[in-house]
C-alpha cells in the first residue's frame, strides 16, 4: 500500500488523534478522508469508542467525580473516607478536561451531594504496583462465575468491576493488602484498591494494619475495618450479618451513629438499616485441599472464625508448560508480586511446574502439589523452589507417591534436598529435616531450596506427588556460607 492509501492515511491520523497531538489541519484531513470513504466510518467510531472505554475502565479515580462506581448503592455520607488520592498528570490521548462538565452537573444536581461527597473523599490506598488493576484474584475453589468466559482464573488482575460468583469460593487480594475470601453465591463490586461493595453473599476480610480503612459497602451500611478480620453476610432481603473475628471494625448503618465492634461481637443490619445485636452461627468454608494424611496435615474444611493455620490451596500442573504459563505472577498477601514457585526440570527442559499465588496474612504458607514420575531411561530430574527469602528456614514436606489407575500405589521417588537424601516414612512422605538442627530447610543466598528426584536401584519407574514449603519459620534468618557466592548445585539444583 502506498502512503496515499486511504487506510494508511486513516491509521496515521487516528494514531495522532488517539495520542492527543493531532493538529487542526490533520483533523480537517481526517474529516475529508472520512467524508470520501464512508467505509471507514465504523473503524473511526470503533477507535474513538474503544479509546473512551479504555479510559473509563482503566483510569484510576482521581477527582471529585466517580465515573465508574455505583455510589448510589451506598447512601450514607459517612461512607466518605478521610482524604483523596492526588490528581494524575499526563494521560494518553484526547487531552480532555474530563471532569469539568461532570462537576458542573453535580453542582446543579443538589441531590447528588452524597455521591459527590463519597467520591470526593476517595479511600486512601497505595498506588498499584500494576496500575489499572485494583485487586488480584488469588485463589478459587470450585468457583463458577456468571458470564466470565473462563477468564476469571487465579492470577488475573481485576479492575473496577462487578463480579458474580455463582458458587464456590474465591479469594481476592486487594491492592492495599487486604485479602477477601468470598463464598458464593455472591455479587460484589471492586471499587478501588481498598474497598468493595457487597450486594449479596458472604465474605471474610483479612485486613493487615497497613490496609486499615478497608471498607465494605452494603446497601445502606458501611463496614470499616481498622486492621483485623471480620465476616459479613449480605442476604437477599437486603439485611446483613456482621461478625468481628479479630480486632475492631466500625459499622455505620441507617441514620444512627456509627458503632465500633470488637472481636466476638456481631450485629444484624435490617433491610431498613436498623442495627440489632445478633448471634451468628459460624459456617464453614469448603476448601479443596486435603493433605490430612501428609506430613503437614491440613483439613478440607476450615471453621470460620477459628484462627487456625490457613493453607493456600493447591495448584496442579504437569508436563510441558508453555511460556505464557510461566509468566503468571503470584501475589502475596500484601498484593505484591510473589516469585515463589516450584520448577521441575529434566536436563534443562521443564518437566513440571506449579505455583500458587496467595499467601495468607498471618503466615506465608505455600503449598505445592503436582504429580510426576521418574523413569529410568529418561534424564535425571531436578527440582527447585524459587523466590523464597534468602538464608531463611522453611518447613519442607515431600510427597512421594500416587496411585495408578487401578488404585495401586506406585513406587515412591527418591528425593534429595540440597544434596541430602530424604528418608520417607511408611506413608512415603516426610517433613524433611536433613540439613538443619531445627528440623527445617534453609534456603540459599538466592532464596532457593533445591533437590533431585530419582529411582532406587533396580526400579524402572517411580512416582512423586508434590512438595510443600511452609514458612518462613519465625526466627531470624541464619547466615550461611552461601552468603558470599551463588550456590553450587552438585545435585543439579538451581541454575
Amino acid at each position: 500500500m502506498s502512503d496515499h492509501d486511504p487506510q494508511v492515511e486513516f491509521e496515521r491520523l487516528m494514531l495522532g488523534m488517539c495520542e492527543g497531538d493531532i493538529t487542526p489541519e490533520q483533523l480537517a484531513e481526517l474529516g475529508a478522508l472520512l467524508e470520501a470513504h464512508p467505509e471507514l466510518d465504523d473503524a473511526y467510531l470503533d477507535y474513538v469508542a474503544t479509546h473512551g472505554l479504555l479510559r473509563e475502565m482503566l483510569e484510576t479515580r482521581s477527582t471529585p467525580i466517580a465515573l465508574d462506581v455505583p455510589e448510589v448503592l451506598y447512601d450514607d455520607e459517612r461512607d466518605a473516607p478521610d482524604d483523596a488520592p492526588h490528581a494524575p498528570v499526563g494521560r494518553v490521548g484526547f487531552a480532555w478536561k474530563r471532569y469539568a462538565a461532570a462537576a458542573v452537573f453535580v453542582i446543579v444536581a443538589g441531590v447528588a451531594a452524597a455521591v459527590y461527597w463519597s467520591a470526593a473523599h476517595g479511600p486512601t490506598y497505595t498506588p498499584a504496583a500494576r496500575v489499572g488493576s485494583v485487586a488480584t484474584l488469588t485463589d478459587t475453589n470450585r468457583a463458577t462465575w456468571t458470564d466470565d468466559g473462563g477468564m476469571l482464573q487465579p492470577g488475573v488482575e481485576l479492575g473496577v468491576e462487578t463480579l458474580r460468583l455463582e458458587s464456590g469460593t474465591a479469594q481476592v487480594a486487594m491492592r492495599s493488602g487486604a485479602v477477601v475470601d468470598v463464598v458464593g453465591p455472591a455479587e460484589f463490586d471492586l471499587r478501588d484498591g481498598n474497598s468493595l461493595g457487597l450486594r449479596r453473599g458472604q465474605l471474610i476480610a483479612h485486613v493487615p494494619h497497613a490496609a486499615a480503612g478497608f471498607r465494605v459497602f452494603g446497601t445502606g451500611y458501611t463496614v470499616t475495618d481498622l486492621g483485623t478480620r471480620f465476616l459479613l453476610i449480605a442476604h437477599a432481603d437486603r439485611s446483613a450479618d456482621l461478625l468481628v473475628l479479630e480486632g475492631k471494625v466500625e459499622l455505620a448503618a441507617g441514620t444512627t451513629d456509627a458503632v465500633a465492634l470488637v472481636a466476638g461481637e456481631s450485629r444484624r443490619i435490617g433491610p431498613d438499616g436498623a442495627v440489632t445485636p445478633a448471634q451468628l452461627a459460624l459456617g464453614t468454608v469448603d476448601v479443596d485441599f486435603d493433605v490430612s494424611n501428609g506430613p503437614m496435615p491440613g483439613k478440607g474444611a476450615e471453621a470460620l472464625g477459628a484462627d487456625k493455620d490457613r493453607w493456600n490451596s493447591v495448584a496442579v500442573q504437569s508436563g510441558r508448560i508453555d511460556a505464557q504459563a510461566l509468566d503468571k505472577t503470584m501475589v502475596d498477601a500484601a498484593g505484591r508480586p510473589s516469585p515463589v514457585r516450584l520448577i521441575v526440570e529434566s536436563n534443562g527442559r521443564l518437566n513440571a511446574y506449579a505455583e500458587r499465588g496467595a499467601s495468607k496474612p498471618v503466615r506465608r504458607d505455600v503449598v505445592f502439589v503436582t504429580r510426576g514420575d521418574v523413569q529410568k531411561r529418561k534424564d535425571p530430574i531436578a527440582w527447585r523452589i524459587e523466590g523464597l527469602l534468602p538464608n531463611t528456614p522453611y518447613e519442607l514436606a515431600l510427597l512421594g507417591q500416587w496411585e495408578d489407575k487401578r488404585g495401586g500405589a506406585v513406587n515412591p521417588a527418591v528425593f534429595t534436598v540440597q544434596g541430602v537424601t530424604a528418608e520417607l516414612d511408611a506413608n512415603n512422605d516426610a517433613v524433611f529435616t536433613g540439613d538443619s538442627p531445627n528440623g527445617h530447610v534453609v534456603s540459599d543466598a538466592h532464596g532457593v531450596i533445591h533437590g533431585t528426584l530419582g529411582l532406587r536401584d533396580g526400579e524402572q519407574f517411580a512416582g512423586w506427588s508434590g512438595l510443600q514449603v511452609r514458612g518462613p519459620i519465625d526466627y531470624a534468618p541464619i547466615p550461611t556460607s552461601n552468603d558470599a557466592a551463588p550456590s553450587a548445585a552438585p545435585d543439579g539444583g538451581p541454575r
Binding site: 469508542a49 475502565m57 499526563g90
Partner: protein, 174 residues
C-alpha cells in the same frame, strides 16, 4: 421523578461521562469544542430529566441529546471553520447513535478482550490509561522510544477492537 429515580439518573449520567465525551468527540474532533458541548449536554439532560422514561435505554437517550447539542454548537459557530462537514457529522451521528444502545455490551466485551491480552501488552495499556504517568514517562521508565510506545499502544487498541467486534458478532450484538 422520585428521589430514587433521580439518584439513578445521577448515577447513570456520572458513569457515562467518559463515553459521552467520546461520542461528542467522534462528531466534533476538537477537544475544546467537545468540552463545551458535553457540559451543555449535561445541563440539558438534567433539565429534561422528567422526560426520561425509566426502563428505557439511558445511553441512547443521552446520546441523542448530545447529538442535538453538537448540531446546536455547530450552528452557533457557523462562522468558524469546522474540521468535519455537516454531512459527515450527520452521517457519523446516525451511526454513533445507533451504536449507543450497545455500549454496555461493548464495554463488557472489551473487558473480556483485555483479559486475553498477553501480560506485557496488558501492563502497557494499563499503565498508559491509568493516568499516573504519561507515555513519555513510560518510555523513560522502560527504556523504549516514545514513538515505539505509541505504535505499540495503537496496535493493542487495534487488537482489542478486533476482539471486541468478534465477541459482539459471536453474541449477535449489532
Amino acid at each position: 421523578m422520585n428521589e430514587a429515580d433521580t439518584r439513578q439518573l445521577v448515577l447513570d449520567l456520572t458513569q457515562m461521562q467518559t463515553r459521552l465525551r467520546a461520542f461528542v468527540m467522534s462528531l466534533l474532533g476538537s477537544v475544546d469544542a467537545t468540552e463545551e458541548v458535553v457540559q451543555e449536554t449535561n445541563v440539558v439532560i438534567w433539565s429534561k430529566r422528567e422526560e426520561f422514561k425509566a426502563g428505557t435505554n439511558f445511553n441512547a437517550w443521552a446520546f441523542q441529546i448530545a447529538r442535538f447539542q453538537v448540531m446546536a454548537y455547530r450552528k452557533r459557530r457557523a462562522r468558524d471553520r469546522h474540521e468535519f462537514s455537516d454531512a459527515l457529522v450527520e452521517r457519523l451521528g446516525d451511526k454513533a447513535t445507533r451504536r449507543a444502545g450497545a455500549v454496555d455490551e461493548r464495554r463488557e466485551a472489551l473487558r473480556r478482550c483485555m483479559d486475553k491480552l498477553p501480560v506485557p501488552q496488558r501492563q502497557l495499556i494499563d499503565s498508559a490509561y491509568a493516568g499516573h504517568e504519561s507515555v513519555v514517562d513510560i518510555a523513560e521508565r522502560t527504556g523504549r522510544a516514545k514513538t515505539s510506545l505509541y505504535q505499540m499502544l495503537y496496535r493493542i487498541r487495534r487488537t482489542l477492537m478486533t476482539c471486541v467486534e468478534q465477541t459482539l458478532g459471536a453474541e449477535g450484538t449489532p
